[in-house]
Symmetry: C2
Subunit: 436 residues, 2 copies
């Protein structure tokens, strides 16, 4: 890289701050290949510096001088991860006043003070990036803001609070009441000690307010949002809904109507056949309906250290690419800079590893399974499950699911199986991916 | 808008060319608010100008001078939608040589000649944008290239050919053999007269090759891809897979391994519980696994005039925003330019329109349903379905699903229902969205 590193200051070093530093460090090489230059954390300020000091030792300045960081002339981008509205607002406004670009994950801050913050940033010519503020790592801000620009967006409907989606999933799948599942969610760390913001829908409404602005090009108007949580929801309604072919989800819905915009968060029945109805646990998903593209869905982890850091760091790369705006440093065609492409080998198909479904017909007599399993074992192919199905007249279909194995070995094993005297068909082979 | 319009030349005026012009025209106002300036088609060249002439009349120059268009000094961006590899390559290279930015939907072109084309564009300092080349309108190129830049991407697995996904969905749901469903797909326009490129997996492999380059930062290497289509797939394997808890999908898979990259298209069993296994019909979806974000999925229409145009026009907006790269014209915070925000009203909750699930307990005697339906009719609420469930001791639960109605009217009707003598409970009300 010929350019100097971009210098980042971290405000806050909690879960997301730690995750951001981990990801930036672990993936530094690939990130620099994408951004066109290194992205370096050069200073950390947090109200409780002890944890950060344990991580950085003497390697990096760590203190509690939050205001000092936002005015540090050595810093290009300030990452605000302290949360809350009052101090965060003051810090972000000061950072902008000092000409810093800002990256933030703070939805409450933007839902309450976004108009003021964006106006100040526009005036100063700096960027305020906030991909991490909605649906964690899912790049939904970018999708709406840049990916769907051709569309008149008709509505957005999102599962944008993982805590409540986890609770609703457990209530449905295990038939437990709200209070029981909430306690469990708190024990597992999916819900806060004071869960009000999540279960009453406020957090979802913060995010929805931002999505509505992006979708319809309107100012941020959190005070106009209708907010209803899941605390009143009864198990029997979940059951009735299911019998009728629906799931109940806490949706944030923003819809364009001839007379204005609907902006509302509340429990909602959704047809069980829709993809979004099948988003379970703490996952997030946002469904966007545009007049040109139709329905399009974006799914992923909405919270957690590294998923949120994924969005924070993507914003850092975005700001870096735009900050360095000569043609060589625009978003590169192949995601990485042209002079930073890798020369990994593409593997021949025989060298790939996956699982396999094998089906063939055998004579139904003793010793068949012993011979088959010996061939597979010799080729280091381990069996996940095997089904034998009678086909009448002394023959049987064998269906085998394997664990992950090398394709070349599977091809060899298939040849050997087809040569066995008691095998009466060729072997049908389909690859199987658990995608996990 | 203070800036002059960006001037676009369209090469080709088939399905996607027509869709692109429709979307640009219909949504011109919103698109300009997003891009910061108008985007204008100023010239069209196509090998068969008659159709385009019927649309444009004298309003726009239309001819068959493809080479004339790419060297026209009046044009800023060339949109290549003629397809194929030979002529398209020559036109794109000439457009670049003349300093034009290029937007293309041509996956075959980029899978075969992308390395050469991107090198020429980088040298000349112009952009070649290709969102429409993979998964139609789904902004998957942007998601990987810009949204997931924090991640070391581990694998990408996509349903990236709508024709084959339609065929597999029909084979499973209706128990029909491949040949029958293919004929139907051809009749419905989901498959071409010569379906080879789709059913043999070549089209998916073109797209997968591009995704792999974006995900791993490698040169485009279509010749190394393993390609296996769905023509050999038997109905009974779909049935067996289903019994075992799997669906069979034609997946394009690109996976990072310690010894290289797996790059392969083939029929694949996928656990039925995964979201991607439930992507049916001609829809596309791409699942990306990154080390920070985990699994994230992108879903939408992979083909068709306007879904594809959605991606072409998004690229036009992207190129326009970057072409005009002073701070005022970067990607705006709220997707639209700050001075172009709209002042739509946010509707009060009473003015929203949605469907409703209502549940309450009634005395089980004649006339109950008549009174209830009269109240609903008086309030312009029409009933989609009604279930009455005995609860013993002469009482019954009533569950009603309504069609779309005004919330204020539903609130009134609930108050009236709760005041009826034979109603023994309050009314539980949950909103219902069909999301379609």
């Amino acid at each position: 890289m010929n350019l100097k590193p971009i210098k980042v200051g971290l405000l806050g070093f909690g879960v997301v701050g730690g995750g951001t530093y981990s990801v930036l460090t672990r993936n530094a090489e690939e990130i620099a290949r994408r951004a066109g230059r290194d992205i370096e954390v050069v200073r950390v300020a947090t109200r409780t510096p002890s944890k950060a000091k344990a991580v950085f030792g003497e390697a990096l300045p760590v203190d509690d001088d939050l205001m000092g960081l936002v005015s540090d002339p050595n810093i290009d981008i300030v990452v605000e991860l302290i949360g809350g509205e009052t101090l965060a607002r003051e810090l972000v406004m000061q950072a902008i006043a000092h000409g810093k670009h800002v990256v933030t994950a703070n939805k409450a801050l933007l839902a309450m003070h976004g108009n003021e913050i964006f106006a100040a940033a526009s005036k100063k010519g700096v960027m305020v990036a906030f991909e991490a503020a909605v649906a964690g790592g899912v790049p939904i801000v970018k999708a709406i803001r840049e990916g769907l620009t051709a569309n008149r967006i008709q509505w957005v409907a999102g599962i944008i609070n993982g805590t409540t989606n986890f609770i609703l999933s457990e209530m449905r799948q295990r038939g437990l009441p709200f209070e029981t599942v909430l306690s469990e969610a708190q024990r597992l760390g999916y819900a806060e000690a004071d869960p009000t913001f999540d279960v009453e829908g406020v957090d979802a409404a913060h995010k929805l307010t931002l999505l509505a602005s992006l979708a319809f090009g309107i100012r941020i108007q959190f005070d106009k949002a209708y907010v209803e949580g899941i605390t009143a929801l009864k198990q029997e309604d979940i059951t009735h809904a299911e019998r009728l072919g629906y799931r109940i989800k806490l949706l944030g819905i923003a819809k364009r109507r001839p007379n204005g915009i609907e902006l509302r968060v509340h429990p909602t029945l959704v047809p069980a056949s829709k993809l979004i109805a099948n988003v379970e646990g703490a996952m997030n998903a946002v469904l966007v309906k545009g007049d040109a593209i139709g329905e399009t869905l974006y799914y992923g982890a909405g919270a957690g250290a590294e998923p949120t850091a994924s969005a924070v760091v993507a914003d850092l790369v975005d700001v870096t690419r735009m900050h360095t705006s000569d043609p060589e440093n625009r978003v590169p065609h192949l995601a990485f800079q042209p002079n930073a492409l890798a020369d990994f080998d593409i593997l021949p198909i025989s060298e790939i590893r996956t699982s396999y479904y094998l089906r063939f017909t055998v004579e139904d007599r003793p010793g068949v399974l012993a011979d088959l399993t010996r061939i597979l074992a010799d080729k280091s192919i381990s069996i996940n499950s095997m089904v034998q199905e009678q086909k009448g007249e002394g023959s049987a279909a064998i269906i085998i699911l394997t664990h992950e194995a090398r394709e070349g070995n599977v091809v060899d094993a298939i040849r050997m199986i087809e040569n066995l005297g008691f095998v009466h068909s060729s072997v049908t082979r389909i690859r199987l991916e658990n995608l996990s």
